[in-house]
Each structure stands twice: as structure tokens, then as C-alpha cells.
């Protein structure tokens, strides 16, 4: 399967994602933000980092870059698109996903491992997980506080477009297990067609038991199959 990782000035998780993809047998290419042509891709990953120094709003400038026009076209024609952390912020700024990512409620940059509950496993990114499984991934962000209007939140719930929610190790989802203030503890959402996933946690950091755990592996192997 062919994957492309988009690289912006300020991306810093691009190599981690590329390493994870290659380890899991993707044929990966790195794509510079100024490029006008996207290599043939089954999966496009927009990685984490601080594209354009988070100027104006996180992801706002990257969303207007050359290559993003191609990403939007590919996404609209069904290509799988995964936005992780800053990549999620960029997807929101392009309008491919709805809502907004505000500053963390406690105003602190949060870097820690958190538990996540798989809310929807009926999609190309999560099918190797079991519904309501608890996984442990790392988060590292300053603006991860997902916000959306009430009617859109209802749509996310009704159409089963919430992929992950923050929880504790026993699966409890409430304010005490919400690290950043996200509405309904949302950690990752899908678009209507379920070919685009935006998530704040970093699955690429959890693909090797030697340095972390392997809870992120299934996300990538779900895409492969």
C-alpha cells in the first residue's frame, strides 16, 4: 500500500510516522508542502508538529499550502487521510473535518500517555481494534481541546463519527478523565464518508514495545487490510 507523509516547515513527527509506516510494510514517500503533485497514494498522513510555528492559529497557514489543495482533492475522491495532532488541526482548518481545536483548558502543554476508548471500530482506521477496547497512546499538544456546535456534536454521535474518547484505564469517560477539556472527551473524529480521521493522540509513537507499547500498530494494520 502506498502512503505519503506531508512535510511542512515545523513538522516534527513526520519521520516518526514514516518509520512506523515503513515498519508496517507501507511504501512511503515524503511530500514537501510546496509540491503541486501528490504521488499515487492509498493513504495520506498529515503529521504532528508545529507547522509554520503555529502562527495565526495552529494549522491555519498549512491549510493554505500548495499540496493541501491536492490532499483535499484526493480526500474528496475517497483517499484515506489521517491527520495526527497538528495534522488534525490542519484538517480542521481545511474544512475536511468540522469543529475547532482550542487551547487546552488548563492552558498547559500536555505531554503524557493517556487511555482511549475505541468508540467506532467500523471504519478503515480502527477495524483491527475491538469496540470499547481501551488503548494507551501518547498526547503532546497545546491546542487539543476539541470544540464544536451542539448540532454538529449530535451529528457526530448519531452518525457514529467519534473514533476515540479519552478515558481512564477502566474505560471511564468523564471530566476527571478528560486531559484537555475536549467536548464529550473527544480525541478523534471521522468525516461522514469515514475516509478521513483526525486525532490528537500519536499512534506512530506506539508501534514498538522496546520504547513504548504497540497499541498504535492496529491503527496502521487496519488501513493495510
Amino acid at each position: 500500500m502506498n502512503s505519503s507523509v506531508i512535510v511542512f516547515p515545523g513538522s516534527n513527527c513526520d519521520r516518526d510516522v514514516a518509520t512506523a509506516l515503513t515498519k508496517l510494510q507501507f511504501k512511503n514517500k515524503m511530500v514537501w508542502h510546496k509540491d503541486n503533485v501528490l504521488p499515487k497514494s492509498d493513504l495520506i498522513v498529515i503529521p504532528g508538529g508545529f507547522s509554520y510555528g503555529d502562527y495565526l492559529r495552529s494549522g491555519a497557514i498549512a491549510a493554505k499550502s500548495n499540496i493541501l489543495k491536492e490532499v483535499v482533492k484526493a480526500a474528496n475522491s475517497g483517499c484515506l487521510v489521517l491527520g495526527i495532532c497538528n495534522g488534525f488541526q490542519i484538517l480542521i482548518e481545511t474544512g475536511l473535518l468540522q469543529g475547532a481545536l482550542l487551547r487546552n483548558k488548563n492552558l498547559k502543554f500536555i505531554s503524557k500517555d493517556v487511555h482511549l476508548k475505541i468508540i467506532n471500530n467500523n471504519n478503515n482506521f480502527c477495524k483491527k481494534y475491538k469496540k470499547n477496547n481501551i488503548i494507551n497512546l501518547n498526547i503532546a499538544h497545546n491546542e487539543g481541546n476539541y470544540f464544536t456546535k451542539k448540532d454538529h456534536l449530535k451529528e457526530l454521535e448519531d452518525k457514529d463519527l467519534i473514533a476515540f474518547k479519552y478515558c481512564n484505564k477502566d474505560g471511564l469517560v468523564n471530566e476527571s478523565t478528560n486531559p484537555n477539556g475536549s467536548i464529550s472527551n473527544i480525541a478523534g473524529i471521522l468525516n461522514n464518508k469515514k475516509n478521513i480521521l483526525g486525532m490528537m493522540p500519536h499512534p506512530e509513537r506506539m508501534v514498538d514495545n522496546l520504547i513504548s507499547n504497540s497499541d498504535g500498530v492496529e491503527l496502521f494494520t487496519s488501513i493495510l487490510n
Binding site: 495565526l56 493554505k64 469543529g99 475547532a100 482550542l102 488548563n106 492552558l107 470544540f147 456546535k149 477539556g181
Partner: protein
């Protein structure tokens, strides 16, 4: 022609930075402070003599890039 754009979070969006500034001022003894919201200030200079056209062009910039209309609102002022 110079303009300023003032961007603030909408009323129903939590403004944690504003809250902290407000609480700090209150703890410094500013008892009269009732509410505080913080935001962004952008100055623009345009090669345009028609004020209405300039205004429309800034409106467009706000909608396309400067403002996230889901969470923010803006005011344009001639300076």
C-alpha cells in the same frame, strides 16, 4: 489606507487565557473588573482609495484566513 482587525472568541466559547488574565487582575485588587475576553489585533495597509472596496477586501481575508468563524468573531476598523 490602514485598517485594524480585532478578533475575539465568540461569547459561548470558553476563553481560558482571558479567564486567567481576569483572575490575575482580580487577585491584584482590581475589584471593579467584571469580565475580560482576550483576542488578536491585526493591522493591515491596503493599496486602495475606495474605503468600501478596502472594507470588502478585508472581509474576504477574514473569512478565508484570518478568522476561524466557528469559534471567533471580528471587527474591522479604519485607523
Amino acid at each position: 489606507m490602514k485598517f485594524a482587525v480585532i478578533i475575539t472568541l465568540k461569547k459561548d466559547v470558553l476563553d481560558p487565557q482571558g479567564k486567567v488574565i481576569e483572575q490575575t487582575l482580580q487577585s491584584m485588587g482590581v475589584n471593579s473588573l467584571k469580565n475580560l475576553r482576550q483576542g488578536k489585533y491585526i493591522e493591515l495597509e491596503l493599496n486602495e482609495t475606495d474605503e468600501k472596496k478596502a472594507h470588502n477586501s478585508i472581509e474576504d481575508m477574514c473569512k478565508k484566513l484570518l478568522v476561524n468563524l466557528i469559534i471567533e468573531e471580528y471587527k474591522i476598523k479604519k485607523i
